[in-house]
């Protein structure tokens, strides 16, 4: 993978997120011309930090899962709304309007700013459409902050989140947070 020089942009997507997976597959289909050539490569982030670093030494797997990345052939990376714009520029059915994202007026790119905001909103609400790996929707956080603040104000004690930070890797039941200590009877050093 590393021996070949990268000639096309690579879009990395979170294949554990339903929204991201649908978008990734749509880009993959759209990027393919009738001759079978692709204008942009699409690949899931996967689970191997080493593989990602072989694509770009600055690429961190945690960051890759946090926001959309497009790896450019020149070694640079586009993130978030910039990555979306780069992707749209590479698709035959969207490049006719994707030029607008690069439009700059006195150094200000209004369409790119709008796209950045749109991406930020989509990234926040994607758990609502099915993304177990995305965590709690950020749109709910202000409500949580206000609730905690009110609770602290009236109760006078700092609030501790009752729910553990816990992500189910399968359709398994949620367990309460508890430090369980196994008996040491079988320990060989006793």
């Amino acid at each position: 993978m590393t021996s070949q020089k990268q000639t096309k942009p690579i879009l990395l997507f979170n294949d554990e997120c339903t929204v991201c997976r649908h978008i990734g597959h749509w880009v993959q289909r759209s990027a393919q011309s009738k001759s079978g050539e692709t204008s942009i490569l699409v690949q899931p982030i996967g689970d191997d930090p080493g593989t990602l670093r072989s694509l770009n030494p600055d690429l961190d797997i945690w960051d890759a899962y946090e926001t959309i990345h497009v790896l450019m052939p020149d070694g640079s990376m586009r993130l978030g709304g910039e990555a979306v714009a780069e992707t749209l520029r590479n698709l035959s059915n969207t490049k006719w309007f994707a030029w607008s994202f690069a439009t700059s007026i006195f150094g200000f790119r209004p369409f790119q700013v709008m796209l950045n905001v749109a991406y930020a909103i989509l990234a926040d609400v994607r758990p609502l459409f099915g993304c177990e790996s995305c965590g709690k929707p950020k749109v709910l956080r202000p409500i949580q902050w206000v609730t905690n603040w009110a609770r602290n104000l009236f109760a006078g004690v700092p609030h501790k989140s009752p729910s553990p930070h816990f992500s189910l890797s399968s359709a398994a039941r949620r367990r309460p947070l508890a430090v369980s200590v196994a008996p040491l009877a079988q320990s060989s050093h006793s």
Binding site: N14, D15, E16, C17, I45, D47, D48, P49, D58, L59, D60, I61, W62, D63, Y65, E66, M72, D74, S76, M77, R78, L79, E82, W99, A102, T103, S104, I105, F106, S133, C134, G135, K136, K160, S161, P164, H165, F166, S167, L168, S169, S170, A172, R173, R174, R175, L177, A178, V179, S180, V181, A182, P183, L184, Q186, S187, S188, H189, S190
Partner: protein, 133 residues
């Protein structure tokens, strides 16, 4: 006034790639590094696509630095090591399993991503074990 090209392709900001302080163990190295090792060892069962694992990662690294003279902390990626996850009946991520001389002495599932919470989680089972002895 209108420029249709990106003058400066956006570069990735400086990233802290020092996040690999915690060594990853696989099914092939698990026996040697965890089960056959002496002393207290903590194994985090996680996956990179898990938001809660991402939240706890910097905290766990901080805790690993704090307890490095007493304990070793390893990581198991359950997306790759599904057999190990099955063996230890991992129901979700992150799960911290504490081993003392190769035996599981405790586990914590989904600790809050705070230093105090994680520190308690990775030290309490060993203290209980010492008292039991």
């Amino acid at each position: 006034m209108i420029n249709e090209t990106l003058e400066h392709p956006r570069q990735t900001p400086a990233r802290h790639l020092s996040r690999d302080k915690i060594q990853t163990v696989t099914s092939t190295t698990f026996t040697r590094l965890v089960l056959e090792a002496e002393g207290p060892i903590v194994v985090e069962f996680m996956s990179y696509g898990c938001a809660h694992c991402r939240a706890i990662e910097p905290v766990l690294e901080q805790v690993a630095e704090m307890v490095k003279t007493q304990e070793k902390i390893f990581r198991v990626n359950i997306a790759v090591e599904q057999e190990l996850a099955g063996t230890y009946q991992i129901q979700g991520t992150p799960s911290l399993l504490m081993f003392l001389d190769g035996h599981e002495v405790g586990r914590v599932e989904g600790p809050s991503p705070t230093v105090s919470s994680v520190l308690t989680a990775v030290t309490q089972p060993f203290e209980s074990g010492a008292e039991a002895n």
